[in-house]
């Protein structure tokens, strides 16, 4: 049988957290017992602060000599409302921005209470009255369309409760999918809804969480923008954040603070952190249209897929969507929207695509280049695709196209949905391609 530290603890009448003296091969160690992921290792926190793991072996002796150290806890701060300040509702969905570290185990856990939020970021109280609400707790790669509905409901409730704006804490991985989903689901919202994430967890003094949150709050307080946007670091410096359009942004780096960039578009605004100043970078940003009502359409078609075109494609890759009854498929085409469909080896791909479309599945073409537009006519191959009914989606980002297609198919009839794919509904498609929007890093 393999050695197990829990067995040793049991035999010695010791519990995790207890202060113990351990004897092994003539050496002795003293410290608090920590939970250990590896059962063959007994982990101790020594008085110096270091953790060390001791391999569990026969003949090891463990003696409890003290109680667990005082339970670590957050000092709650009594919350005071300042009636002169606006109310901002903070919706938690999980991710790094909501995570805290357990200092003894090093594990990360989520926290959402108002007290915790204010205790972590006391400066927030100078900007607004904050009301955190729990929506979900998951890493953003685990998001499903059902979560979008929960968020929409929470946003509606916050608006009803008189919030000047909403901050939605979100994991960064799929943050732009969510921002696109909310952009489509909420038509003419009366307030700003800002998605905020963090690339460095808030247990570090170097975390970007506080600045992203504070800039979002300042923006909400000062702006007449209404709609869905993202607020994250502009550069690697802790100097300013940018407010990015919810349907035209993308996470472009796995780890940098300034991972989020506007693609084929400009940021809406820059928020200078030190001066707490909002500088608009766009004139025509969305504002509330008082003549139109705020409406919500939160249907999302479940069976929509996303496929990347690549050399050496096989028809099975396309027919999969037919066999499984998909209602929509977004293709990330190469170049201006190509798929390998032309030569004798690739003709089966063309036939597969034709069959898929004939089955009623809406196929939308986007560009895996990300920057620039797709075009249905420049090359013969493009024409062949558009002839069979592939919908070319202008400069729509592939991820936004995926969300848009699911939303269209979830709320409109097929024909209407097809018609709306290349139409601009929420700033997701630009009328003309800007010259000044290409600076990939």
């Amino acid at each position: 049988m393999k050695a197990d530290y829990r067995e040793l603890l049991r035999k010695s009448g010791v519990q995790e957290g207890d202060f113990v003296e351990l004897a092994k091969n003539g050496q002795s160690f003293r410290g608090h017992v920590l939970p250990s992921a590896d059962p063959e290792t007994l982990s101790l926190k020594l008085h110096t602060g270091y953790n060390m793991g001791v391999r569990v072996e026969a003949g090891m002796e463990l003696k409890k000599t003290g109680e667990p150290s005082a339970k670590a806890g957050v000092k709650s701060q009594a919350l005071k409302m300042d009636v002169s300040l606006p109310k901002i509702v903070v919706l938690h969905t999980g991710g790094t921005i909501a995570s805290r570290v357990n200092y003894s185990t090093g594990g990360v856990y989520a926290s959402f209470s108002t007290e915790d939020l204010i205790a972590m970021f006391p400066e927030l109280t100078r900007v607004a009255n904050f009301e955190p609400r729990h929506v979900a707790n998951l890493m953003s790669e685990d998001m499903r369309f059902s979560h979008y509905k929960l968020m929409v409901q929470a946003i509606q409730a916050a608006i009803r409760d008189g919030a000047k704006g909403i901050i939605l804490g979100h994991g960064t991985d799929t943050l732009t999918y969510t921002s696109a989903a909310l952009s489509f689901a909420l038509e003419n919202p009366p307030v700003p809804v800002l998605l905020v994430g963090s690339q460095r967890s808030s247990d570090r003094g170097s975390s970007d969480a506080a600045i992203n949150l504070l800039c979002a709050a300042e923006f909400i307080k000062q702006t007449d923008f209404a709609g869905v946007a993202i607020c994250m670091h502009e550069t690697s410096d802790d100097q300013a954040c940018v407010v990015l359009p919810g349907t035209k942004a993308r996470k472009m780096h796995t780890s940098r603070r300034d991972a989020f960039k506007a693609v084929n578009d400009q940021p809406i605004a820059r928020v200078h952190f030190n001066e707490r100043r909002v500088e608009y970078l766009k004139k025509d940003y969305p504002r509330v249209d008082k003549k139109k009502p705020f409406t919500v359409k939160d249907g999302f078609e479940e069976k929509v897929g996303l496929l990347k075109s690549h050399p050496n494609m096989h028809p099975e890759e396309i027919l999969f969507y037919l066999e499984h009854g998909f209602k929509g498929l977004v293709v990330e085409g190469t170049g201006m929207g190509h798929m390998p469909t032309n030569t004798p080896e690739n003709l089966p791909n063309y036939e597969a695509l034709k069959k898929l479309i004939a089955s009623g599945c809406v196929v939308v073409m986007t560009a895996q280049c990300l920057y620039g537009r797709v075009h249905p006519y420049v090359y013969t191959n493009l024409r062949r695709l558009s002839e069979i009914g592939v919908v070319f989606a202008e400069d729509l980002l592939p991820e936004t196209a995926f969300v848009k297609l699911a939303w269209l198919l979830g709320n409109f009839k097929r024909e209407e949905a097809v018609k709306k794919v290349p139409e601009n509904l929420r700033g997701e498609i630009t009328a003309s391609s800007r010259i000044d929007c290409f600076e990939p890093e």
Partner: protein, 635 residues
């Protein structure tokens, strides 16, 4: 001040030695190079105080943050990466650095930790971009062989170095990231050293042991000592960051002296005064300063500062007493104001009349402050902005009260003259929690065994081997024994390279190239070996070895053959060699015929001018002799 009997004083001293390694960085793949040229990247950050486990903030850190304290980090696009700028998760330990620390642990017969945790140690001064320093306990309970006895080694730690401060501004501190992430081995001894001389010897011995690995970085600041000192009745005081090993014994001596002096002061004060007598009820004496000739005060008051005076009951003669050579207790007090409030200085009654204050001024002050001659009262004066001045008085009273207790536990900084000054309180138990981006590391038994089998020889063993077996000269042998090249040298010798010329190339040759302005960092071991091999094979003559290596260092990416061709250093074939000799001989036919063998030196010189680096000198000499003989018919 007289030297003391430190054993009788009960001196206890422990060292914490930090040595940089010349491997790549600990948690990324960047080279460990310090840069003096202008950085091409600047990142500006705020370091936010992080709530402690108990839900509290460090008040000083919070205040600095709220005041808008920023940190600027200088980086280089070619030698630093996103890990140093805290924009990318760390990678696992650098394997070479890990091997080196394991080797050191084995040399110190320490107990290796089975499962190693990389910890994050909180840092609040911005000296790391992440706001913590990553550190890992590798081994415990080691033993340094010292004077035939075992000096206990408490812990052996592998950690990353912090960034180095470049400019310390009021609102912004500038750090350079070249140093951040360089691997450091920290060796902490038990406090079992009992004399200043031994402290220095132990430090040297540890330094030597680290150098045996061949991985110790050399040069100023690459090895730093924290020295813990106490005497009987005193307290543990930490001297932080001693870089000058030569002065280490003096630093220990002076700290022991300081503690002894503080204990004497305590004895004296206990006869005169009670703690309750010392209260921060300072008086504003600015009015007195206005009419005074004291420029210090007059200028201060004009700038809107005020002068506060504080009566210190029973401190007469104490403020002027030396606690270290040339350092009085009054100066010691001023050190706390400097460190905690940035105040330049104070005046006290033991140094007056002076600084333009007259006898009358002092009398007036004494009267105003209510000093009593019979109680041996003293006073101090501070000229500062309102608020700060009151704060200063509180600090002074606090410190004077501590004088009744003895030696305050604290961290102190070494001064160039061997004395030391207050820096900050002793660090509490470090705030540490595990690095969440890395799993724990198991010490692999096979890896440890492999290292154990190939542990470096001691310096003495090396020296014996060099002189007895390899017949190296004394100077070379001594230089090689602790050189980072020693293990490479042993390896080369084992593979049949000639010891002396190899040692000369490694020790003197590279130094010579460096002096000639060649960037010797570009010279890899592979390059050295290639060049030595060429010499061994007879492709490259001895005289040309260094020149070729130098040329190669300028174009390290070029293949060896290209360098040889460009340097024209390929050894001439026998036929070519003969042709060169005959050509020169023909040119000198007259003088050879006339002088015979006596013309040898002159002609030899001319041949060598053309043949150097292509034909070995010995060969030229042989060929030339034959040619001369053939022409003169004589032997």
């Amino acid at each position: 001040m007289p030297d003391l009997d430190y054993l009788a004083l009960g001196l206890k001293c422990g060292l914490e030695c930090h040595q940089q390694l010349n491997t790549r960085k600990l948690f990324c793949n960047c080279p460990s190079v310090m840069r003096e040229d202008a950085p091409d990247i600047l990142v500006k950050r705020r370091i936010r105080p992080v709530m402690s486990e108990l839900g509290e903030y460090d008040p000083a850190a919070l205040e600095a943050y709220q005041k808008g304290q920023t940190f600027a980090y200088q980086a280089y696009s070619d030698t630093t990466c996103l890990v140093e700028t805290d924009e990318e998760p760390v990678r696992p330990f650098n394997a070479e650095a890990f091997d080196t620390v394991l080797e050191v642990a084995l040399l110190l017969k320490a107990h290796l930790v089975d499962n190693i945790y990389v910890m994050r140690k909180m840092v609040v001064d911005g000296s790391t971009t992440s706001s913590f320093q990553r550190t890992a306990l590798i081994a415990t309970n080691g033993c340094l062989d010292f004077n035939g006895k075992c000096l206990g080694i408490d812990t052996i730690v592998l950690e990353e170095d912090a960034a180095r401060p470049v400019v310390r501004g009021d609102k912004e501190v500038v750090y350079r990231l070249d140093r951040q992430g360089i691997p450091l081995i920290e060796i902490a001894t038990l406090p079992d050293i009992h004399s200043p001389e031994d402290a220095k010897k132990v430090a040297l011995k540890i330094g030597e042991l680290l150098r045996l690995t061949g991985k110790a970085r050399r040069g100023l600041g690459t090895i730093r000592q924290d020295v813990n000192v106490s005497i009987r009745g005193g307290t543990r005081v930490e001297l932080k960051g001693v870089q000058e090993l030569d002065l280490l014994d003096e630093f220990v001596r002076r700290e022991a002296q300081r503690q002894a002096a503080l204990l004497e002061i305590r004895g004296e004060l206990l006869k005169r005064v009670k703690e309750a007598d010392l209260v921060p009820n300072a008086l504003d004496v600015s009015a007195l300063a206005e009419g005074s000739a004291c420029k210090f005060f007059a200028d201060g008051v004009r700038q809107g500062k005020k002068v506060l005076g504080l009566r210190l009951k029973g401190f007469k003669g104490i403020l002027g007493r030396e606690v270290q050579p040339g350092r009085r207790f009054g100066k010691e007090l001023a050190g706390y104001l400097k460190a905690r409030l940035g105040i330049a200085g104070l005046l006290h009654s033991d140094e007056l009349p002076n600084y333009g204050l007259t006898e009358a001024d002092v009398k007036g002050l004494s009267r105003q402050l209510g000093l009593r001659e019979d109680a041996l009262d003293a006073f101090v004066l501070v000229c500062e902005e309102p608020g700060k001045a009151e704060e200063a008085m509180k600090i002074l009273v606090e410190r004077c009260r501590q004088a009744l207790k003895g030696v305050p536990p604290e961290t102190r900084g070494p001064l160039p003259d061997g004395n030391n000054e207050y820096l900050r309180p002793l660090p509490g138990a470090a705030r540490m929690y595990p690095e969440t981006d890395l799993p724990t590391v198991k010490t692999d038994a096979a890896r440890v065994e492999g290292l154990r089998k190939n542990l470096p020889q001691s310096a003495e063993e090396r020296l014996r081997f060099y002189s007895k077996e390899l017949k190296l000269g004394e100077k070379l042998a001594n230089e090689m024994k602790l050189s980072n090249e020693a293990r490479f040298f042993a390896d080369l010798v084992k593979r049949g390279f000639e010891p002396t010329s190899t040692a000369v190339l490694l020790l003197e040759g590279l130094t010579k190239l460096k002096r000639e302005g060649v960037d010797v960092d570009n010279v890899s071991r592979e390059m050295v070996e290639r060049v030595l091999s060429a010499q061994k094979e007879g492709v490259l003559v001895k005289e040309a070895v260094l020149g070729v290596l130098g040329a190669w260092a300028k174009k390290p990416a070029a293949p060896f053959e290209e360098i040889m061709a460009e340097a024209g250093a390929s050894r001439a074939s026998d036929v070519e060699a003969l042709a060169i000799v005959q050509k020169i001989v023909a040119r000198n036919e007259g003088i050879i015929k006339e002088k015979g063998m006596q013309s040898f030196q002159a002609v030899m010189g001319e041949v060598m001018r053309e043949a150097r680096g292509k034909i070995p000198g010995s060969m030229v000499s042989g060929l030339l002799k034959k040619e001369i003989e053939a022409r003169t018919g004589r032997k």
